[in-house]
Symmetry: C2
Subunit: 408 residues, 2 copies
Amino acid sequence: MIGIGLLGHGVVGGGVAEILRNNRDSILERTGQDIGLAAVCDLRDFSHLPYASLFTRDAYAVTGNEDVQVVVECMGGIEPARSFVLDAIRHGKHVVTSNKALVADSGEEISRLAEERGVRFLYEASAGGGIPVIQPLRQCLAANRLNHIAGILNGTTNYILTRMRDGGVSFQAALKEAQQLGYAEQDPSADIQGDDARRKICILSHVAFGSPFDDSDIFTQGIAELSREDMLYARELGRAVKLLAVADLSGDGWRALVAPAMLPADHPLSSVNDVFNAVLVHGDMVDDVLFYGRGAGARPTASAIVGDLVDIALHPNDPPLCVEKRHLSKLPALGGMTRLFLRVLCPLEEKGAEVQRIFPGARLVRLDGPSFAGEFAVITEEGEEAALRACVDALPLPHGAVLRYASV
Amino acid sequence: MIGIGLLGHGVVGGGVAEILRNNRDSILERTGQDIGLAAVCDLRDFSHLPYASLFTRDAYAVTGNEDVQVVVECMGGIEPARSFVLDAIRHGKHVVTSNKALVADSGEEISRLAEERGVRFLYEASAGGGIPVIQPLRQCLAANRLNHIAGILNGTTNYILTRMRDGGVSFQAALKEAQQLGYAEQDPSADIQGDDARRKICILSHVAFGSPFDDSDIFTQGIAELSREDMLYARELGRAVKLLAVADLSGDGWRALVAPAMLPADHPLSSVNDVFNAVLVHGDMVDDVLFYGRGAGARPTASAIVGDLVDIALHPNDPPLCVEKRHLSKLPALGGMTRLFLRVLCPLEEKGAEVQRIFPGARLVRLDGPSFAGEFAVITEEGEEAALRACVDALPLPHGAVLRYASV
């Protein structure tokens, strides 16, 4: 048996324990690997569980446990998770985590130590939840030079945007619904402001492009400023609004950003709704590939963790997922070409000409109906995003949230 | 260097050679594996190529070549491909193939010999082309009991259906377009009649459910009977028409079928258009996962083959992908629950009551416009598919093509 030491028996950790108990036989049948729970650390009382005897409150009793070959970290946050993970590796344990904050912040450091100690460090569940994406990027698509990733990486915001777009509800009402359904935390700021998506695109970029990134370098715009009227424009224009996380490799430079975008109906990400996540990847040989599924939740996330456990059981000596292999320079975060959508909260007759002077190639849109009285929208010409945003910021007129207006 | 012996230097084999020559450095950088072409068998003249010295017309000079560790079979068809592959395995070579006819027909036999000889037999490219699906099913989703697969597995028919639905062109015109664009063969019958999709769902079922299937057991309905009017109904009903390949596991029984289906707009497969393929998989832990990409073409298919080569280079001793692990009984091919859509080519006033007697719970639909004069459509109540189809066959009225009418 391959013994698993679990740090944290919350939503995700509990899911891992459930799978290892309920599907142990089918995993053995399908992979030939017998993977079982050996120790669990959690500060809470789980004495009612049939495997209560495996619990300890001392994380180091797991990381140093001789019955444990792989430590699964499901605590969340950077410290003390980082210290426990490093200790496990120093004890010669492989490590699997679903903790995106830890991987985005300390992934390179942990990977280096794991390489040095000859153990594996995997984190499929940290980006895209249950969706198999890191392993396929690394191995199945190894023939390709990957140069583009676009993802819907946060289920909470995608649920809110879907409800706003298709249900016509306000941001606040959609957020409240998401909280009632358990899709959003009581403090939803990491989701809403785009920080969660930023960590995940940072992780996926590292795997795809082979160079670690500092996620604080990633321009991030959340969705809290989006209004019901923005969604009505999107509907009228036949577009969906999504919080997109994008990363591009261009020569030896990379850039990434997180921002809401209006996608045309035939964009592969436009029909990804509710709490579902998806990752679109472009490779020079395979063209576009998309992976879709549940980006959160106990069982989907635990499914990805157990997939990593199977990988380790089969391949304990595989080379590291990624330790820096090449140096990529950081391109200006907003240097890419795009178009922006913005609403100008003044009548078209009064201010249209002025806006057209600032954005000479822009398309001005006015919609009928009381929601749109006294305002119009602007879809800019394609240009450098930084320059376009600077023009918007300098616009001497009241305006609403700014969205990227993506072509296919 | 890991030496590759290529059988067949056509569209796909040429793509493999291109990747191994052009992306060899990036593959080495990303995976640590140096994979290079060692020998190529093709009967045609390739003396103009820079690697012409690697060519032979004798397949056995590849399968027995001591510089070759992995034989890549890209010839297509069952024989002589099967004999060459078996010979390669007897010589201790790993084998990778994109040949779905070979895998559907002889996959179990080849897998058994490979297991016996301690070599690997992989075929990611045989179902879903460039899309990583077999490897993720096997490893990333190993935590799950997989119980449902639904795929758009044939790019030719998906292109034709997309053009018929969105472009309003006839089947014949769409087929001609597909042929002109190189998406359809001059003899398109294997695609149009659903045989290609049937082989692929057979392969995916084997990987997902762990038991080999005889693909002649799979009910298969093609798309040649679909008309422009069928597509107009689909548009009016807000649905897409797709050739779906479906497989279900239920207890210890399985069933699979290939048939055109009307999908609602919020079905994850409904927006898979043109030559793109997609595979939706349901697991008990991960819920729905979808993989999307190009199902054919030189480079995408070769990308999947090279992914398999990387897998073998990293893991030459992995257990077999699937050799029969459990016995599943065949359920009646049409035993599942569904609804059917059919057009009755008689006026509703004359025949509506009679049809309603035969399908008591059915919804009768009449659309306006000259295309629909003198006819109506029937959406049956949910029932056992075999019973519903028997009623349709016994209907004493002229009717058009029958489509499954899928709910989400």
